[in-house]
Symmetry: C2
């Protein structure tokens, strides 16, 4: 890897508003990134029986696809993330990719060696075709008419994206949480196109409790009068209260009880005189302030129909369903090697859920590497910087690279260095 230099791009940009500070590219960053939008005009037949006539995918790529086209890694996103996996958004220097600590030159997923694709899923709200997009049949936003999607539909759409890039087989398909479900689905539905499948903090299917929390979120959104049956775009409204409550409940499930205790405990927020309570329904505790802020912020940028759609896709995911509930049978034709990672305090998708996948793979004699990281941060741990976790992933990618004969990793950087 070349010596890292701090680049001030402000001097190369005309008419930079004075309040925008010069952007400093930190070591290990892929730098300033911009999405590309790729149009697919062929109809996409969906699991539901509906057909999406055409769609666009928002995509970011990092690193270079090599001549053999065998160094490509697909990163699949979870509920509220996007194609912006790594680097600094050209439009907004504060918008750092959601897995920037994982993906970059010298990082666990080393963009000096791998060509990494981040893709926003259909139905999402960050640039790919979704419920807020224009329905070509009506000239109006799709709204409630946007078709329901499944993880398998996303994989089909991503497979066309691979074709677009001329990638026959990914070195790895990787994701956390819902992203891990997509990686798993890739290995099942396109077995010959996945070299390694990396499934982090995920599950082979939602539990009743998981579905229950999703349903709470959906009822909250749907019963908000500003939802207008999903066609709120035309009304100029946003079901922000419902979306905010949905996010709050979701957020609690991403954190561990212990982590919340450590972060917030029972600390008061702006107490009354003598540290007293206000004895009302305003904010009394830090944790309330935090959750309200998270909920309100989310409701300003996330599309409510997308929230419904993605929680439903989560509910539906269950590759064992067409095999009488037998996950091992569902996995019988996979050809990928696997890395699974779970986190000890993740109560949304606890380690036991990953164990189910590991057992089913072992039953099929697939090579599996499994790491259970003792981390206090609950489900969110998969997004956080943790040296042991990143070392596991980096070590696994070194093995992938060695297997493909890719160049050695630069030893001057990286979490193992």
């Amino acid at each position: 890897m070349a010596e890292l230099s701090v680049t001030d791009i402000s001097s190369s940009l005309p008419a930079v508003p004075s309040e925008i500070a010069p952007v400093t590219i930190p070591p290990g960053s892929v730098g300033i990134v911009s999405p590309q939008y790729i149009a697919f005009d062929q109809p996409l037949a969906l699991t539901s029986g509906q057909v999406l006539p055409s769609y666009e995918l928002a995509v970011e790529t990092y690193g270079e696809l090599n001549a053999e086209r065998n160094n490509a890694v697909l990163i699949c996103h979870a509920l509220n993330a996007s194609h912006h996996v790594a680097g600094i958004c050209a439009d907004n220097p504060k918008d750092i990719g959601w897995w920037d600590n994982m993906v970059g030159p010298g990082k666990a997923v080393d963009t000096d060696r791998f060509f990494v694709i981040g893709v926003n899923n259909i139905g999402s709200c960050f640039g790919s075709t979704g419920p807020a997009s224009i329905n070509p049949a009506t000239g109006q936003p799709w709204g409630a008419a946007f078709p329901m999607l499944t993880v398998e539909d996303w994989v089909r759409a991503q497979a066309r994206l691979a074709d677009h890039f001329g990638i026959q087989k990914f070195a790895a398909v990787m994701g956390g949480s819902l992203g891990g479900m997509q990686a798993l689905s890739w290995a099942i539905t396109c077995p010959e196109r996945v070299g390694h499948c990396i499934v982090i903090a995920s599950t082979p299917r939602l539990s009743a409790q998981n579905i229950g929390f999703n349903e709470v979120a959906r009822r909250s959104i749907i019963s908000d009068p500003d939802f207008h049956g999903g066609d709120y775009y035309a009304q100029g409204t946003v079901p922000k209260h419902g979306l905010s409550v949905a996010r709050m409940v979701g957020h609690i499930t991403y954190l561990s009880d212990d982590d919340m205790a450590a972060k917030f405990g029972r600390a008061q927020r702006a107490p009354a005189d003598n540290g007293e309570f206000h004895y009302g329904y305003g904010v009394e505790f830090e944790v309330e302030s935090y959750l309200r802020y998270q909920g309100e912020k989310f409701s300003t940028y996330f599309d409510a129909n997308t929230y419904l759609l993605i929680t439903r896709a989560l509910d539906y995911f269950d590759p064992s369903r067409s095999h009488g509930g037998d996950l091992a049978r569902a996995l019988q034709h996979v050809q990928a090697d696997f890395l699974l990672v779970s986190f000890s305090t993740d109560w949304r998708f606890p380690p036991a859920r990953s164990h189910e996948i590991v057992r089913a793979l072992l039953k099929n004699k697939r090579p599996v590497t499994y790491a259970e990281i003792d981390a206090p941060h609950g489900h969110d741990a998969f997004l956080l910087d943790d040296a042991r976790y990143h070392a596991v992933v980096q070590g696994y990618y070194d093995r992938i690279a060695a297997g493909l004969g890719l160049p050695e990793r630069q030893q001057t950087s990286g979490v193992l260095a």
Copy 2:
């Protein structure tokens, strides 16, 4: 205990509508019960600094107060329960007391030996003065003007109730969940009036996660346009959507993940042809149907202001707060003996929370009996019939009775028989 006879009360009641079936009193039931309403005209000074000018308490009693007045047991209720602890409601034969499996002749809390009082807390919505009651100052429902209450306020109101009955000292004060907090608070604030303190599935204070879930419920209610800032009575509305979502999220926290898996799993509700999904936001899974039903039912009978108030009282409870967070110091003057019970799969108030109380009591050299019941039902387990759990409670009450020189329990009945 007298031989149980099946009593058909329908013949003794004039003009019974033909659709009401004769009521069968099952063995161990306290029988047909009716509440009494006891008015307290002295103002009640509250923790918040506000004053409740007067109030009424809805009360049920079972068994007989003995001449020594030393066999009284106070049962404190949790979030959504009432004074109707045991027996069959005279107005509605289907309305069985919420702890009927625990309280009755020959049961763990044996009404052949103990005089048991069930009391509805101020601020609730089952007969005691609450936000839906008429504010004497305005002639209108209190609504948002109803004062905030704390566990300590409830205890003060209950102490006046004890005075009313001429009870100087309770044989036991007992409760589960929020009811357990009241029992604990009784032992701290009226140490000389509590012989035994029985704290089941409870905690010395809510965690950040607990407060977070309460806040989700409150935001859901408060942001429902039918809430009208708490003064919905005047508008003829009920914030039923908000209340329903609040109940749904609460309900999930009462059940264990495993219990939900066993009860619902991923079973579909009314699937489409060939067992397919409907691919929409209607009910797909049994768990959704169940939670929606629970939420909707709750919203037809529970007052939204009461839900806010009681969740807030839960948040505030922390007897260690005035002792620098030291629970042992908060408990230094208690005179009661203690029974604590927790349930292995209760993730709302897990066993570790009870351990905190046990440790603080032991630090004060108080006699403590502690039982951790290995039960699959999560927090709800404290309400359910479980022979080991009930045997622990019954054994403890036998000890209380022996200590007080009460008559022996009839050996022909009871969970230990």
